[in-house]
């Protein structure tokens, strides 16, 4: 499973989203995820993949998150 697919799966599980409605270019705001939701997503992702990601100003979209994980 790719990082993107893992993220889509986690969002589908925790936020009851349809994975088909999620695109890599979507910002967290567009997905109606606030800062606490993003923190939760990042920690769930760490639990799933074992990759710690720092939350900073450069983290705005699903694609940004995928890049941070894949570049580790």
């Amino acid at each position: 499973m790719s990082t993107y697919e893992t993220i889509a799966k986690l969002l589908a599980e925790s936020k009851d989203m349809d994975p088909g409605d999620i695109r890599p270019d979507m910002g967290f705001a567009e997905l109606e995820l606030d800062s606490l939701d993003v923190a939760e997503l990042v920690m769930n992702l760490e639990d799933e993949l074992g990759v710690p990601v720092e939350i900073d100003e450069s983290l705005r979209t699903i694609a940004d998150l995928v890049a941070k994980v894949d570049n580790k």
């Binding site: 923190a39 939760e40 990042v42 920690m43 720092e54 900073d56």
Partner: protein, 306 residues
């Protein structure tokens, strides 16, 4: 941490200055200076003043949405208060600087994921703050947040939100907290320089007198109901009001309350426990009374499960 009592005084903007922090530290708790929205040099002056008033450890609270956050973060690394607490965001970008200066970092967190993120970055402890609190708040209540944060991290957890007497302290300990942070009760400390009208608002508040505004902007804030909050709440629910108009309305409102005592236009940030604060007392008396009561309650607590 060398405290006689495991209690922090919350870092309240326009309220928590060097004199209040020193009074709390001298009383055996951890006094905390608020860096609020002011410059780094204001903070440096307050830290140095506090050092002349107490030899005990004290802390600084950094509001991460402050326009001066980078500068005040640097001043904390230079001046090295015993503790930095943070609020309204994730402090991880500044934590390396504080940790390498030997400053203990204890962020205020509103969720388990935030607690885990700051633990990973080296936090010494976390303050799990429930939505009963005054000022910027999260959705979860203290009763539900504290045990969940306790389960999520291996560092000590302090409980905040709704704690104003020994019953609250005892309950927090039972939830797994190693200590508490209180704001509202110290608003009414003798040593607190906030405007007398502010103290009277807290003393006169009844159980249902606080209100949460600002949810629409994503920055929920609890304060005591007054003409300002009525007007704000009304505008918040009017579709024609823009986010910018709401933001503009909030600017300076806390200062008007804390410094000017403006009962009409001020925003009197305070927690739900305002109604449990009945008198103005020295910080030492506030703390000693709370912990004496908590000790008595905890000694008799097993009676309920026999």
């Amino acid at each position: 941490m060398g405290l006689a009592y495991p209690i922090f005084q919350g870092g309240m903007a326009w309220v928590s200055d060097a004199e209040l922090a020193a009074a709390v530290s001298n009383a055996g708790g951890l006094g905390i200076i608020s860096a609020m929205n002011l410059s780094a040099e204001y903070l440096r002056g307050q830290i140095r003043k506090c050092r002349t008033l107490t030899e005990k450890p004290f802390g600084v609270n950094i509001m991460l949405m402050s326009p001066f956050v980078k500068d005040v973060a640097r001043v904390c690394a230079e001046e090295k208060p015993a503790v930095v607490t943070t609020g309204a965001g994730l402090p991880n970008a500044y934590m390396k600087g504080w940790l390498s200066a030997g400053v203990r970092v204890i962020p205020v967190v509103p969720s388990t994921a935030m607690a885990r993120l700051v633990e990973r970055a080296g936090a010494y402890a976390v303050i799990a703050e429930g939505g009963e609190s005054g000022g910027h708040i999260g959705d979860l209540s203290t009763l539900t947040l504290v045990p969940q944060v306790k389960d999520a991290v291996d560092i000590p957890v302090l409980a905040a939100g709704g704690i104003a007497d020994g019953r609250g302290v005892a309950a927090a300990m039972m939830l797994g907290a190693a200590g508490v942070q209180c704001g509202t009760v110290f608003l009414c400390a003798t040593e607190c320089a906030v405007h007398e009208n502010y103290k009277q608002k807290v003393l006169n508040a009844k159980d249902i007198d606080t209100i949460v505004t600002g949810k629409r902007l994503g920055h929920a804030v609890r304060s005591i109901r007054n003409p300002f909050t009525r007007q704000y709440a009304k505008m918040e629910y009017e579709i024609s009001t823009t986010g910018e108009e709401l933001e503009a309305m909030g600017i300076g409102a806390l200062r008007k309350a804390a410094v000017d005592g403006n009962l009409e236009e001020g925003c009197f940030l305070a927690g739900q426990c305002s109604a449990m604060v009945h008198e103005i007392r020295p910080a030492k008396e506030i703390i000693e009374t709370m912990f004496k009561e908590a000790e008595t309650l905890l000694k008799g607590a097993s009676a309920w499960v026999k």
